[in-house]
């Protein structure tokens, strides 16, 4: 199983502006002061080895969309703005006249998780088959997509789409066999409800758990979360806020914190904890600092095996 992140930002897409890029260039030039590069390879080596991630790269700004590779068909979770780039990638790879099957698993239907669909080119091409699965009812799912592609929000209406599109409500807490994977849903605390997914194949387990406020104020609920995460190889987790923000001014906003993620993943003996759904107000330096702090917290509270921790970025790939 391989995971590819097409969008990792929470709530709304963001983009680096000219000032941000200028600051990155300035920092890189200062680091290179006095150096001479004799070849392109030396430049690449300097970038790879001497410049930190927030300067040489960045976390990206597309909203939630991840691809799970390892089945016969395309398979993704959520349709944030990152879906546009995924659609372009498919068209580039196969050309427009090569029908494919797509399986989408929706955490929920808030705008930042469906906004990529009107820009998903394969949806306009007859012959493509699109399955949209979720824990919400078919009526609720259809309504969200139809309203997004109707006047005055968007000029191309839902009924003008060329692909064959099917909606399916999946039952919670039972296994579903789709595209060669075993998939289970679990309801999460979020406005209007959201669903986490446990996806398994060939002895590997991924949990996609975004837009979830884990208050940990109910032992039974916490035990259910721990069971859902148990021994997962990778948990993609809504780490949008600091703990202080999450339980003060942003309480009931529907999101979790970086250190709640550490505590849950350690208790569930998860191997790799990946922070996701980044606060749009955070820049690359903020997210990098939070990653370092989160790793330090894990080091302090860890009592058994270490937990690998990463921060998702657009185009990141994780092999399980």
């Amino acid at each position: 199983m391989q995971i590819r992140f097409w969008g990792t930002r929470g709530s709304i897409p963001v983009a680096a502006n000219g000032r941000v890029i200028r600051e990155k260039i300035k920092r890189a030039l200062l680091l290179a002061e006095g150096l001479r590069f004799g070849s392109q390879e030396q430049v690449d080596r300097f970038i790879d080895e001497s410049i930190e991630f927030p300067t040489k790269c960045g976390y990206g700004g597309d909203s939630s969309c991840i691809q799970i590779l390892g089945g016969d068909d395309y398979m993704l979770c959520d349709m944030g703005s990152g879906l546009r780039r995924f659609g372009q990638h498919v068209i580039t790879e196969h050309g427009p006249q090569n029908p494919k099957v797509y399986h989408f698993f929706m955490s929920h239907l808030h705008w930042d998780h469906i906004m990529g669909f009107p820009f998903f080119q394969p949806a306009y091409i007859p012959g493509n088959i699109i399955h949209i699965y979720g824990g919400h009812t078919v009526e609720v799912m259809k309504d969200a997509f139809r309203r997004q592609q109707s006047s005055p929000c968007f000029p191309v209406y839902w009924d003008q789409l060329g692909a064959d599109i099917h909606f399916t409500q999946l039952k919670e807490n039972q296994w579903h066999e789709i595209n060669g994977f075993r998939i289970k849903l679990r309801g999460q605390e979020h406005h209007g409800g959201s669903f986490g997914y446990r996806i398994e194949k060939s002895g590997k387990a991924l949990v996609y758990s975004t837009d979830a406020e884990h208050k940990l104020d109910n032992d039974k609920n916490t035990a259910g979360i721990l069971d859902f995460y148990r021994n997962a190889d990778l948990v993609i987790f809504d780490a949008m806020y600091s703990l202080a923000d999450m339980i003060t001014i942003k309480e009931d906003w529907g999101h979790s914190s970086n250190i709640i993620g550490v505590d849950l993943c350690l208790r569930a003996r998860v191997k790799h904890y990946c922070m996701f759904h980044h606060e749009p107000a955070y820049n690359d330096e903020d997210l990098f600092k939070i990653l370092q702090e989160t790793r330090r917290y894990e080091e302090i509270v860890r009592e058994a095996l270490p937990l690998e921790i990463s921060t998702a970025y657009d185009d990141m790939v994780i092999d399980l």
Binding site: L216, D217, L243, S257, I259, I260, E293, Y297, I300
Partner: protein
């Protein structure tokens, strides 16, 4: 986890010792509860939590502290934490609790901030 409490002038000083994690956070909440109930009834408006004896705390403990702080805030009462071990101070910084809670380097400095009247009694208490 062990805890003791004593009333010093108009301040309740709660001393906590041990680990505060998901296994013990309920005990921590229970240790704080009677004093928070006094805040609600108006009998007590100032609490200092001495964390000098705490060497381990996870988000479960932080959450219990924040619930206490919110309860105090609603009752226009004051709560402060004091004498954090460096490792606990680090956890407060990582969780950004250092931005939302009153934190003092020593219990004495917490008394000086919360109740000038109680500082003398706290000093007497130390020497007795």
């Amino acid at each position: 986890m062990q805890f003791t409490s004593q009333k010093i002038s108009n301040v309740t000083l709660i001393r906590i010792q041990g680990r505060i994690d998901h296994n013990t956070s309920k005990d921590f909440e229970n240790a704080l509860k009677p004093h928070l109930d006094e805040c609600i009834s108006g009998m007590n408006k100032k609490i200092i939590v001495d964390l000098n004896g705490v060497d381990f705390m996870t988000s479960a403990g932080l959450r219990a502290l924040m619930i206490a702080a919110k309860t105090c805030d609603k009752q226009k009462a004051e709560i402060a934490v004091a004498a954090l071990q460096p490792i606990i101070q680090e956890i407060f910084t990582i969780s950004r609790f250092d931005l939302v809670l009153k934190i003092f380097p020593t219990v004495k400095s917490a008394f000086e901030n919360l109740s000038v009247d109680a500082v003398g009694d706290y000093g007497n208490n130390l020497s007795s």
